[in-house]
């Protein structure tokens, strides 16, 4: 239902507008109360892509649930499978071989690189730099090539299994990945320069979308969003898993608390990922890549965590002595980062809403719809993303 507010005509019309472009950021349904141009309140509604995965996992055995967990998210799918495998390995109380840990770490960091590049491209696109978006995504293709060399597919590579990994990494693959990383490192340094020194980008990102440190701690925000507000928390450092306690790396934090800080944190983190992968490629030793695990998992309960590109992923699981899990609970990072949208958006301009919501790197895949409620006139509008953009940029015309 659309009821146009203010100066335009009143008409009721239903608009089914969904995401048109695979690169458009996914947005949840935000009910935004505006007073003129300033946002006064935000209510976040999610659930458009609830698929009942946790219930489905209870009816599938552990291996099938593994592949189900891979399909939760397209961008961070390897982290989901790694955390799931760690969960079942904790339930079984087994240790995977060291080579498997290194291969998992390399794939995890490659995924972090690929995810941050995706985000950087979309951020550039949101700011109006179409060309920057194309350049960054072209370079992202090289990372996807590296992932394909390692796993066999660009997305949803079934590399993980309970007890280790399924494919080994040959010397040839190692050399090729090393070459790709050299090129990507150069490109990243160039993009960092662009994002931190270009005047148009600085004008649209500095001082906008502030999330203060105390709010970040109060709402338990995770991931680069929290690190850009000065909260020094990264699962890889505090609760190391896989090969992270055998490599040297820095945790990037920034005290800026605005969008520019989040940009910097993500891009500098990507450089750290490149350094981690290089160390892993050097340190990896020969050995087994998986160990055999029994089908039946004894009664137990366990928890496992990982640092996804967007934050902390927590898997809690319970087994019951059969080959099907009794209960698995998944908590993804955007779930908790939703709470950060409200403090970031209040008292900001409506025109900055897309870039602010994008800066927490949301990963839902909902239909994008935004509801705008004008507090003065009490009228509600539901707009699709395209129309919201037009409306937002057009409102400043009058």
């Amino acid at each position: 239902m659309i009821i146009m507010s203010g100066k335009s005509l009143k008409r009721c019309y239903s608009l089914p507008i969904g995401p048109q472009h695979p690169a458009f950021p996914e947005a949840e349904n935000l009910e935004v109360k505006v007073d003129g141009e300033t946002i006064v309140d935000v209510v976040v509604n999610v659930g458009y892509l609830h698929r009942g995965i946790e219930k489905a996992m209870e009816e599938r055995n552990y291996i099938r649930s593994l592949y189900l967990s891979e399909r939760i998210c397209g961008i961070c799918n390897f982290v989901h499978t790694t955390t799931y495998c760690s969960l079942v390995e904790n339930l079984l109380d087994i240790e995977i071989p060291e080579r498997a840990m290194y291969i998992r770490t390399i794939a995890l960091e490659l995924e972090r690189l690929q995810s941050h590049m995706l985000w950087a491209g979309i951020a550039g696109y949101e700011l109006g730099f179409d060309t920057l978006f194309h350049y960054i995504w072209r370079d992202r293709e090289f990372i996807l090539d590296a992932i394909e060399l390692l796993g066999g597919k660009r997305v949803n590579y079934g590399l993980n299994t309970i007890g280790g990994v399924r494919r080994d990494m040959s010397e040839d693959v190692k050399n090729k990945i090393g070459k790709i990383l050299k090129y990507i490192e150069k490109r990243f340094k160039y993009y960092i320069k662009v994002f931190t020194t270009d005047i148009t980008i600085l004008r649209r990102t500095e001082g906008i979308g502030i999330l203060e440190k105390k709010d970040a701690i109060k709402y338990c925000i995770v991931g680069p969003t929290a690190r850009a507000s000065g909260v020094d928390y990264d699962i890889r450092r505090i609760d190391p898993y896989m090969a992270y306690n055998m490599v040297d790396f820095n945790i990037i934090t920034d005290n800026g608390c605005d969008i520019q800080a989040r940009v910097k944190v993500r891009l500098l983190e990507a450089l750290e990922s490149i350094s981690i992968i290089k160390q892993c490629l050097k340190d990896i030793k020969k050995g087994d890549i998986r160990i055999k695990v029994p089908f039946i998992v004894p009664e137990n309960e366990a928890i496992s965590r990982s640092e996804a590109p967007r934050g902390e992923i927590v898997y809690y699981g319970r087994s019951n002595g059969t080959d099907k899990p009794e209960r698995i609970k998944i908590r993804t990072p955007t779930y908790i980062n939703l709470l950060s949208i409200k403090p970031m958006l209040v008292d900001e301009n409506l025109a900055d809403l897309p870039i602010i919501v994008m800066s927490i790197d949301p990963c839902f895949s909902c239909t994008d719809r935004i509801t705008i409620i004008d507090v003065k006139s009490g009228k509600r509008e539901i707009l699709g993303e395209q129309e919201f953009r037009k409306r937002v940029d057009g409102k400043n015309d009058y």
Partner: protein, 297 residues
């Protein structure tokens, strides 16, 4: 009589203008893609697009108001008429003595027809898109009009054909009046919604805004308006500021250079915010006013 008909419809008339504007638009997309490290569509892609649109089903929505068919036709007719008045390669179809003012009017009729097309679609988004077009028109008409007056006053004639001939003799006007020329260049970008003046993020080239309810033939006309406007503005620019065109080859060369310049600007800049854009327009408008004062002295 027959020669006149050929002139009006074939060369340098409507068919020539339409085919060339489709090609120029194809070049724009191709060069943009290459600069963005992509391959891009083939050069004749816009031709395929228009032919495909002509073969699609024509749907008139229930809420459509009077003039749903009329406004797109009026839009394309007026922009083509404006194009007919501009000399191409020394040859002009409609040689009028009040050409500049008529061209201005036809441009405005075309934009208002697009706006009315949006209004008559019965869809709130069509209305919003149409309103936006009018608002933009009010904003960027100022530098456009001022920059049009400069060559008219300088050569003391309102006929584009005469201005073209004078320019061939006296040399390009942009060397003498660079400010007015840049104002005209900026208004090309603004009228065709090329970056940095593409405010709505949803690319206006794809169906959105005032075109939202149109399908089939009428949509083909609206897309054609967009592309023909681009070509007509380039040829107007050559005629008024960039040295005129003596022969056809001359025209192709100069218009191609302008096309490449516009594409470079399109690819390299980001989107301006609305307030920045308005400041830009008025700044260039006042620069053009300076040139105008110089001409009047």
């Amino acid at each position: 009589m027959i020669i006149d008909a050929i002139k009006i419809f074939v060369y340098p008339g409507m068919i020539f203008i339409i085919i060339f504007s489709l090609f120029y638009f194809g070049f724009l997309r191709k060069i943009t893609a290459r600069m963005q490290n992509r391959i891009g569509p083939p050069l004749w892609q816009p031709i395929f697009d228009i032919i495909k649109l002509f073969s699609k089903e024509n749907i008139i929505p229930e809420n459509a108001k009077l003039g749903f068919t009329l406004w797109p036709v009026l839009s394309i007719a007026s922009i083509l008429t404006a194009g007919l008045m501009i000399p191409i390669g020394g040859d002009v179809v409609l040689n009028t003595s009040g050409g500049i003012i008529l061209i201005l009017y036809f441009f405005v009729i075309s934009t208002i027809s697009s706006f009315l097309a949006g209004l008559s679609s019965g869809n709130p988004f069509g209305i919003v898109g149409g309103l936006r077009k009018i608002v933009q028109l009010i904003s960027y008409e100022f530098p456009f009009i001022v920059s049009l007056i400069v060559p008219a006053l300088f050569f003391k004639t309102l006929s584009p054909f005469m201005i073209n001939s004078y320019q061939i003799i006296s040399g390009p006007l942009f060397l003498l009046y660079p400010l007015a020329s840049s104002a005209f260049f900026i208004s090309i970008l603004a009228k065709c919604e090329i970056p940095p003046f593409h405010i709505p993020d949803a690319h206006q080239e794809i169906v959105s805004g005032y075109m939202v309810e149109y399908t089939g033939t009428r949509l083909a006309y609206l897309h054609l308006v967009h592309m023909v406007k681009f070509f007509v503005l380039i040829s107007l620019g050559i005629c008024l500021f960039f040295g005129g065109s003596l022969t056809f080859v001359d025209f192709i060369l100069k218009s191609f250079i302008l096309l490449v310049l516009i594409t470079i600007v399109k690819v390299v800049v980001a989107r301006l915010r609305v307030d920045q854009m308005l400041k830009f327009y008025w700044f260039f408008g006042f620069l053009a006013l300076l040139d105008l004062l110089r001409v009047m002295m």
